[in-house]
Amino acid sequence: MEQIDQEITLQLQRIDSNLNHCFAKISREIIPCVEKYGSVCDELVDSVSHLAGLFRGTGDVALQGQENVISESQPAEKTEDVEDGINADVDTLETNSTNDSTRQRRKRKVSLLLQQEYGSSSPREEEEDYVAEEGTLPSVAVLKFNTGNNNINPYDDNGGDEA
């Protein structure tokens, strides 16, 4: 009995020591490391944000021309149905008042379509599409940052999240 008791006590002591070791390891090494990683990621985001602004600008400027291009071109690809759906949506959206939400929806659909096409790197020989695409692709990504707001300012909102 004595021996058993002693062994029990020994095992408990070991358990406690291991747990303590884990806790110390985590709080001393891992959390500061993760914080450093987070700061580096923040720097990354800051450096990349100017590119995002460029793409956003091209997107906002070329949007009017983009709708015409999409309604004109109807290639025999799998995105054809999506395009027709988008054309119908664009027409219905145009009949409605041009709210920011409708514009956002239009941008999202357009850029989604383009992302599908270019994400699969399918050949398209229209520079207009390419120019508009490089603008709409980031706009959809940018819009993903902000699902509710009208202004496309993801990084400001991310700053809000960090705060």
Binding site: T9, Q13, D16, S27, D42, V45, Y118, L137, P138, A141
Partner: protein, 72 residues
Amino acid sequence: MENPHEQVQINILSRILSNVERLNQSVSTLNQELANINRKNNNLEIMGQICENYHNSIQFNLDTTGNRKPPL
């Protein structure tokens, strides 16, 4: 007769309890930090995809127009 052992064991158990509590706290803060970083990284991921698509399309366009030049 077993009392001293039991007392020692109870002491150790209480220490274990407190350590486990601290450990849980630190693990939860770690989890929070990681979740924050993951949220911020989603935007970065999208940015990377944008750049990759831009690269692909620019390569294709250059190839199509015949403007592609070999690396210097």
